[in-house]
Symmetry: C2
Subunit: 397 residues, 2 copies
Amino acid sequence: MKPNAHYAELKDSYLFYHIAQKISAYLAEHPGAYLYRMGIGDVSLPLCDAVIGALHEAVDDQADKERFHGYMPECGAPFLREAIAAHYRSRGVQLEDDEVFVSSGASDELGDILDLFDRDGSSLIMEPAYPAYVDANVMAGRKIIHLPSNEQNGFLPMPCEAAKADLIYICSPNNPTGAAFSRSQLKRWVDFANENGSVILFDAAYEAFIEDDICPHSIFEIPGAETCAIEICSLSKTAGFTGTRLGYTVLPKALVREGMSLNEMWVRNRTTKTNGVSYILQKGGTAVFTPEGQRQIRENLRVYKKNARTLMQALDALGIWYCGGENAPYIWLRCPGGMGSWDFFDFLLNEIQVIGTPGEGFGACGEGYFRFSTFGSPEDTQEAARRLVSLFKQDCR
Amino acid sequence: MKPNAHYAELKDSYLFYHIAQKISAYLAEHPGAYLYRMGIGDVSLPLCDAVIGALHEAVDDQADKERFHGYMPECGAPFLREAIAAHYRSRGVQLEDDEVFVSSGASDELGDILDLFDRDGSSLIMEPAYPAYVDANVMAGRKIIHLPSNEQNGFLPMPCEAAKADLIYICSPNNPTGAAFSRSQLKRWVDFANENGSVILFDAAYEAFIEDDICPHSIFEIPGAETCAIEICSLSKTAGFTGTRLGYTVLPKALVREGMSLNEMWVRNRTTKTNGVSYILQKGGTAVFTPEGQRQIRENLRVYKKNARTLMQALDALGIWYCGGENAPYIWLRCPGGMGSWDFFDFLLNEIQVIGTPGEGFGACGEGYFRFSTFGSPEDTQEAARRLVSLFKQDCR
């Protein structure tokens, strides 16, 4: 048996694993030190009451002979597919229920969905990017086209000859840069994909943070997207499901390549390779789409948005360049004094015990940049901001 | 973008989907008809109290700011990996915690794990077999070697020259035949795999049904398995988790091919392609491995085992050949009167409203055979057995 040799082509360690090691080493040297964790994008607020109530009810169902649920439909429970499709329709996007697939989360789905595509195809990855995009494509032995972005294009690159690829990954609002495509910018990508027969994998994990009307929450707000896009969504950041797990994918029936319906292929994939997502989690997720659930998750989102403003005010005060924070839970900043990403990581950890994420970990063009997440507690975020200002106020003005 | 053309090589419809269509058609013609469902292997008893209690507690944790859990470790929560490893040790199998990987279920894992292997390799599938084995390999474009089994070898084929393959699927106790390999039979497969450098994918989803001491619950009870086997397990049948979802995989560190550790590769796969399994479900699953949980799941298993005896007595009375039922929740019978599998399906549905699964759906050598599952209610199982006896008592004696 030969193993998949592409695994040997992966970079040595995964970004967040490397950060965890650095933190462990610091804590071993400084036992009991308190760290201000503005790094990994994990939420800190508990699930909202509507979700908790629905989860308890679903657990009770599983205890009762009459209400017990065995195998769920592989593509998702009808009640949740319907709730999600109705949510899209309420925002002006027409979807049928069976264009919605329930998943265990966006990460799981991004890993699995590559199975639909011919392996000899190419993948365009706009960088800096979520590292798993690259790693999943390396594991699959696909050709990767790296499209760097930068301050000049606001970390929002536009289509160009070099961007022609079979698959196009778009994450908007972006992880790590927090930059969000406007409707007209996204329209250019949709047109480009349709012209070239490409498929866009649209990672909408952070759509709930959008405040500007010019930025679409869904790629399906853009005419023509139904023939070129798959939208991968998550309740992780929207509703605090990072450790509870639930996501969904919109795969339109109009998405056909070489006579094959990608929707039908995905049905076949799910019925072969899964036995559906937990009834309990799907009941919890359905509560997110009720009026009460929507109101409650917005309360949590407001806390994170306030954290974003706290950090942005600190960076403004220091005159440090950044993007994101407005429509996204991430702030992407240029490391002060021309510092490298990992040097800046070490500097913040050692000087003010603030953890962020080195931009270099998201691709070569992220070198010299740094990501803050806004998912920490308000207290930690305020203290981290205060410490940042105090550390840099002389240097940066 | 070219789609994965291997999907076009899949057979038209998935077995259980085809059955569901036939049932729908019958119910459309016979509104309100009651059906005795001895077909799909879905459990009918609710989760046990220990699991329900743990699930409620975990939901409460997710409601509390201090006890809330965000992202779980991708390979599994330490508390569950430890509980599973301890469970193996209690049965005499030495495992380290990080040789255990928590999964969303055996189906999910069987689909995902092919990623570890070179795609140009071959897969040996002993037939009749769970249809997803074949379909997942077709989707991946792998070479499939079909190894038919039959009444003469008790539906337990032994290694032979034609069985040389990179991957060897073994499901014991078997779905659909209910046949279970003895320790000495399994030892021959382990030796064969080690001699040829093959990897065994051991599907242990039904191990909890084993009663004979000569049949191992885990392939790792066989010396040498740690250098050639991956064991894929599920709580679906063991603890009624079909709709709740949770499984685990044992991938030993001693399993190395061409210098690559499959355990390390799987860590990398999981950290790239998942964000871990739900905290809530992992807490529920951990309760299965407590003394109280073990006692309670055994009570449920006893109900299914009694169903098996009910059906076996009916088949014995009718003189119909069958295997399984002793160490498995499935009974595999020869269709009476030389009937074909699908004809027998239609016959039972139309004459006595009993649903089973046509053997042909599990591979060509299953033609002429039929599967009953023992997961129905005792009442339905007794009535189905009574109807069977009454239908065939003249023909088969």
